[in-house]
Subunit: 340 residues, 4 copies
Amino acid sequence: MIVILKKDAQKAKIDSLLHTIDAWGLKANYSKGDETTIIGLIGDTSKVDTDSLLANEIVSDVRRISEPYKAANRRFHPEDTVVDVGGVKIGQGFFSVIAGPCSIESEAQLTTIAKSVKQSGAAFLRGGAFKPRTSPYSFQGMENDGLKLLLAAKKMTGLPIVTEIMSETQIEDFEDVDVLQVGARNMQNFRLLKELGKTRKPILLKRGLSSTIEEFLMSAEYIMAGGNPNVILCERGIRTFETMVRNTLDISAVPLLKRQSHLPVVIDPSHAAGIAWMVEPLSRAAIAAGADGLMIEVHNNPKEAKCDGAQSLTPESFDALMGQVAARAAFEGKVMSRHG
Amino acid sequence: MIVILKKDAQKAKIDSLLHTIDAWGLKANYSKGDETTIIGLIGDTSKVDTDSLLANEIVSDVRRISEPYKAANRRFHPEDTVVDVGGVKIGQGFFSVIAGPCSIESEAQLTTIAKSVKQSGAAFLRGGAFKPRTSPYSFQGMENDGLKLLLAAKKMTGLPIVTEIMSETQIEDFEDVDVLQVGARNMQNFRLLKELGKTRKPILLKRGLSSTIEEFLMSAEYIMAGGNPNVILCERGIRTFETMVRNTLDISAVPLLKRQSHLPVVIDPSHAAGIAWMVEPLSRAAIAAGADGLMIEVHNNPKEAKCDGAQSLTPESFDALMGQVAARAAFEGKVMSRHG
Amino acid sequence: MIVILKKDAQKAKIDSLLHTIDAWGLKANYSKGDETTIIGLIGDTSKVDTDSLLANEIVSDVRRISEPYKAANRRFHPEDTVVDVGGVKIGQGFFSVIAGPCSIESEAQLTTIAKSVKQSGAAFLRGGAFKPRTSPYSFQGMENDGLKLLLAAKKMTGLPIVTEIMSETQIEDFEDVDVLQVGARNMQNFRLLKELGKTRKPILLKRGLSSTIEEFLMSAEYIMAGGNPNVILCERGIRTFETMVRNTLDISAVPLLKRQSHLPVVIDPSHAAGIAWMVEPLSRAAIAAGADGLMIEVHNNPKEAKCDGAQSLTPESFDALMGQVAARAAFEGKVMSRHG
Amino acid sequence: MIVILKKDAQKAKIDSLLHTIDAWGLKANYSKGDETTIIGLIGDTSKVDTDSLLANEIVSDVRRISEPYKAANRRFHPEDTVVDVGGVKIGQGFFSVIAGPCSIESEAQLTTIAKSVKQSGAAFLRGGAFKPRTSPYSFQGMENDGLKLLLAAKKMTGLPIVTEIMSETQIEDFEDVDVLQVGARNMQNFRLLKELGKTRKPILLKRGLSSTIEEFLMSAEYIMAGGNPNVILCERGIRTFETMVRNTLDISAVPLLKRQSHLPVVIDPSHAAGIAWMVEPLSRAAIAAGADGLMIEVHNNPKEAKCDGAQSLTPESFDALMGQVAARAAFEGKVMSRHG
């Protein structure tokens, strides 16, 4: 961490600051130039609050040099993490596809889709029981009834299940869920993250719509700091000025996250663009960029879907896509994870 | 709502869509041109899911014409809402300043600041007990102990208090808090919003970092749909490409929100830029743009502050600012709200 | 185009508007509902100025339905365009790599790089003679001397050359250049675009840093409207809130541009992230997403490069990359274009 | 400037880098820590290319400490610049309003508006003769005929005139124009900026839609580095994710530009939102934030305007606005500039 001092900083105040740094257990490397005087802080600066330094009247600017995340940092954990969900793996060469409807609507709907995506080679079944919707007047999900249907579909197909948790009060209810999804809007719901850190459940953490890569990794750090190492990162499109798509898939996030962190990275091409026909080209790009998995919305009747119909694939188009996915994962030297 | 059909839409499928629209209790106005065929949906379309329309194979695009919010909409509630907090008012010509430290750190700190901001003319005391921090290693607030200190400061000064609630599980603990603040990161924590809708507490709802005006009003709608009309909107800067400031104050939000909605609008110039010297010019602009209040961070010793020191005013500079604020509120024909 | 009227629009003013629309040679489809009255404009609306409609006191909103571009629109030109540069093709299944230094620095530098990239399989040689630099104090390019070196390198290697033109006054000087590049900062330099439209030169048009897909295609339309059909679109990263990379590669632009337009699409992974090690994963993603080519910066001594050293590949790493590129282009069923 | 070295940097390569820095005429302050080694560059670093440093294999990151602009920098020019246009001043306490139509359409139109805005207190007449339009099919301006009308209106009213120049080839034709406007899309048309730097004409430089404050000041620096000190900065809205307005007025730009630079700052509230009714609240905010002037579109018949009708004020509403502007400029202690 580097502290840049104002040109007219008085000696007494500099000494006081150096004293403070020393009291924090850090070494201060002071270097005075004609134009600029800087202090380099050496040691573990992850707990130093840059804001309080900036509030010091003699400080002009503060710049971090090392990343503020540790548990999620590849620097301290060079090998890839593989998240193992009852034998189905993501990361370290294992490529997994998570598929299913945006929201669970009925037993018939979920059963049909679950069998079909399993048949096509999906490793996980997804389905929303609790739905975060922009409007209070939109369908909010089947809630606990939806959860029951999802558990039944798991029993029937054997596929491990992924579903979104919206509050720390639900952790008990989600006991039999295999992977808990934290949605983009809750990426900085720190109370939820802390409680999830106390479990050992695999967590699929979605990047917030306008979160930086660093903030994303800091949210993973919240979960890992609590002792839970099973975090899967999911990029699902960021908010930009472009209006032709709902969000802009940040494909650079794949190589960046893989370099900065050891955690597996999954891409959600359905939410990224919000357009069904774009799922295929974005999936192809994700695999080529180095992703460890895909999360794809499939609905047996998209035009009757209670949410996100516009971005859902039919079982037939999902099946065709999976042919492409398998060929491309093989090209990249990855092993497709499958249940059983 | 307007549904634009694809050029090659078959008659049978169009009929089926018209039938569906009819079944929704809406009137369909069908108009066929050489290049484009459109269907106008007439009636209450606030519950129509645009996504399921978009998923219909014959539909090319769907455009909303009327706003999806009702309770928060000035169209259905032309006069300004005034939120009355035990006699201290915000809105409809009443201008209120909310001031205090970012986080509550000790009894001495809070007492000193509380007395001082009251003296300078603040109408509300703010102070964070539960702090949403990007890093799990940063100070997370004094939590329930902080809440107790805040209630004691309220007792001592008489100032109504504003503090951030982070989860629906805390509502009971916040019973004696006058205004519950929902932070920017929780603007779309829908479970929290729904539970707050069941109370009648004044809610200070902060705009998410990358939320559109429409999404912001939809979050207010969540609270109001539950029956709670006491919502205060707070613009606190949005995320843009600019790096010289932490966030970009969206001053246009003031006239836009006042026109689209009847709810009071408060500006937080401290978080907007994240720089203490910018609080004054941004406060001036906010008042001139038509805001109903300001929310300002004050700390008796910014450089020792446990959070956001760089953006906190000292009690002296806050006092100087309040002179300006009062003169400008008067220029705009507003009445400064004050306790007692 | 749809015109939405205000609720209280007076009949006389509506009639006057309908009359105006008729005078424009368009058919007006008027449909009145309880809440909303809309007018559908039928016919060629590409020359209708939405702004003047919006300025009409009875108009509440105006929405375009059809795209405002025609020459660049796939709707009116379903088959892919192939740009043929003296036998070297881009588009319609032909994949081309453009490589070379950011700026031309000396004969020795350019010759070394040119031979090397040809050897590795590049189809075009790029090199900047006139450099748009943010700072007036940065190296501005070798200008006309650079151009001469580039032409000499073309002669030596036979590779067609690509270089940036900055003003319509330079068109004559660039007569022997094979492909004229319009930089991101000049994407809306309309005087330049108009003059380029009068030539029949292949134009590599780079997307502006914060230009929408529609604006990008409208700039292509400027060139094509003048009669020049030889436009190659180049996505090179857009400006977002992310700070870890210089720009965010918009991979969705590839399928979107290919669907909306028939023009070839090239990706510049060097400028997108601004980081040498990211060129490879982004190139892989670009090919998988359906791009028709890549534009890559190569420098024989990146750390001495006069610009953009941080994003330049060495000849060795470019050669390794080309192995990957060829294998992947083949996987996608594309033919690698090569000179000679 | 601070150079952060990689952890495993070899001594020989560090020595070579230190030698290079020395050869640049800079002092290198080397400080080695356990985790991080940094080199502080001391001296005039404005010409150091950060990219070539980043390309050095032992360098991990480079951070600028001092601003890369000099002529535009308040640090080296503490007092406000006042731009004097034949006696009409902007800056240093002089507040000027520039008003007129988006585009010049006819003698009658321009004359009517010119007289009217003069009457209402505008100090400058604006009017576009050459119009940068997104679509090649939109009205492109009356071009040289428009320029003649503008010069005639200047003669008639005595008001100095402001109009947009689009290419360096037009400088001679614009000889009698008082203030040359560089549009947002040309903010980084460096050839134009360099040529304008050779004149001594007042330049109204508009901020690019997605340009940072630093890039904006660097474009001013281009003009000033050529010897032309007469630059007026104009903020006109930036591109964000918000869709309810055309652009987002960056009100923070006013205090930031005034602090970083000594140049006068003008706000264009017409283009910022693109909505006529928002011109008034945004103008109020601009004055309160410390702007030195406003640039406002006025049209005698907005609904027939050939461009930007939706954001143009009528002469009547402009007159009403000017009453407010004068009162508020006086409140801020500013003197309203007026011709004659």
